[in-house]
Amino acid sequence: MGSSFRIPIDIGTLPDLRCLRLQLQCPKSNTLIASGHVLWLPNSANPPTKIEVLQIIVDSITTVPDSRTFFCNGEADDQTTWDALHSDALREKHPRLRKITLNFNLEIVPAECDDRDGTFSLLDLSHHLASDLRVLLAPPGATSRIDISVSLDVVFESQRLNRVVI
């Protein structure tokens, strides 16, 4: 998994915890990493918690500004971790969960984009990523009625003003 050390925390033992906020700073990667030991925390709760609000913030850097490549070629462990963040799966561990917020901050190394044929659009990429991220949390067929909010901030590494926020 992405993280090189375990986070030995069992949030299931915190009887009055209502709000959990995880902010993850990832190394440069061409795929969506999950750093399983961190994002696995909400799934590892035992017994079920009283958590009502879960906020996840991911700061990531990539050289591949392609939504499908970014999402599909990750390691199996990372995929398993994201799967465990499905709203239905989370509801089992956190019966009172009513709101999930995912803030995804993606920094793109621009050198990789310069080789493209001019069709690259930061806005298109952002829309695809936002859509894919939303599906990660609430896949088609999800039954739980949890308020899911996904926000995305895509920026070129050396052009921080060229920013798209969704």
């Binding site: 009055d16 959990l20 906020r21 995880l22 700073q25």
Partner: protein, 278 residues
């Protein structure tokens, strides 16, 4: 022209709030200064906004005009602090000290602001003696060169220490400060929010353990979590913390965070973890 004189107070408040939200720091300051002279109905809300948050720093605001974007000299800093001190001491119809809610002290590389000649202690003394609304005290040292609490001249240190005992104080924040006396926190009469960014408490050779409950409304420890456990939690086991935020950069940090959480788990309602995953 009497436009604005008869506006309802709620509208004036909205306008004043909007000035600081929608304008940059410098434009906001200029506009609020003008508002303070418009009419009586504008004067108090504008002054309250102007004086509610005070930053004392060698550096001008980030969005200053290019011609004033330079670090102030020691003399200039002392002059500005002196002028501000005189202003809040000149008691007119409105005691400006009562408007101050937050004081942010940005310690420069030369630690000039901490010198007795800077007059910082006079501002702190005014707050301590007359303020009833002072809620937040923050101190930040130079990023690459944390300053030691023991290096603060005696007069300034005493004023700082006594200011932290104000019953109205709710937020205490340190960034890049070494050797903070543990007594500043454990002797505070009311629940506190404590923030330690790259900062550590002093080592206590033989501190007295206490079994009384220490209530920290919220606690934020960024870096040095292990030192926090060793230097603070070892002697204050009975902690009540509702909101806990920690930065984790290695296995030892993670272990220390978990150890801390276990000690206060019954009252923890909000947990915020910032993890560097590499």
């Amino acid at each position: 022209m009497s436009f604005g004189l008869d506006l309802p107070p709620e509208i004036v408040e909205l306008f004043i709030d909007g000035v600081s939200i929608h304008l940059g720091e410098i434009d906001s300051l200029r506009t609020l200064l003008s508002c303070a002279l418009v009419s009586r109905s504008f004067s108090f809300p504008a002054r309250r906004k102007l004086f509610s948050v005070i930053h004392l720093s060698m550096n001008p605001p980030i969005l200053s005009p290019p011609e004033s974007r330079f670090t102030r000299s020691r003399d200039s800093l002392f002059q500005r602090i002196g002028s501000f001190s005189n202003l809040i001491d000149a008691r007119g119809a409105l005691d400006l000290v009562l408007l101050i809610r937050e004081l942010h002290i940005n310690v420069d590389r030369g630690y000039f602001i901490l010198e007795q000649q800077s007059g910082l202690h006079k501002i702190l003394d005014a707050l301590r003696n007359r303020s009833k609304n002072f809620e937040t005290l923050s101190m930040s040292g130079p990023f690459s060169r944390p300053f030691s609490w023991n290096s603060i001249p005696t007069v300034t240190m005493e004023s700082l220490t006594e200011t932290t005992f104000l019953p109205s104080l709710r937020h205490l924040a340190f960034a890049d400060v070494e050797g903070i006396p543990i007594s500043m926190v454990i002797n505070h009469p009311c629940p506190l929010s404590l923030s330690l960014i790259r900062s550590r408490f002093a080592l206590h050779p033989r501190p007295s353990e206490s079994s009384s409950l220490l209530c920290l409304k919220s606690l934020w420890v960024d870096r040095y979590m292990r030192d926090f456990m060793d230097r603070f939690c070892r002697y204050r086991r009975n902690l009540h913390v509702e909101h806990f935020k920690a930065a984790i950069s290695d296995r030892q940090d993670a272990t220390a965070v978990w150890k801390f959480i276990q000690g206060t788990k019954d009252c923890l309602t909000s947990l915020d973890m910032y993890v560097k995953a590499f």
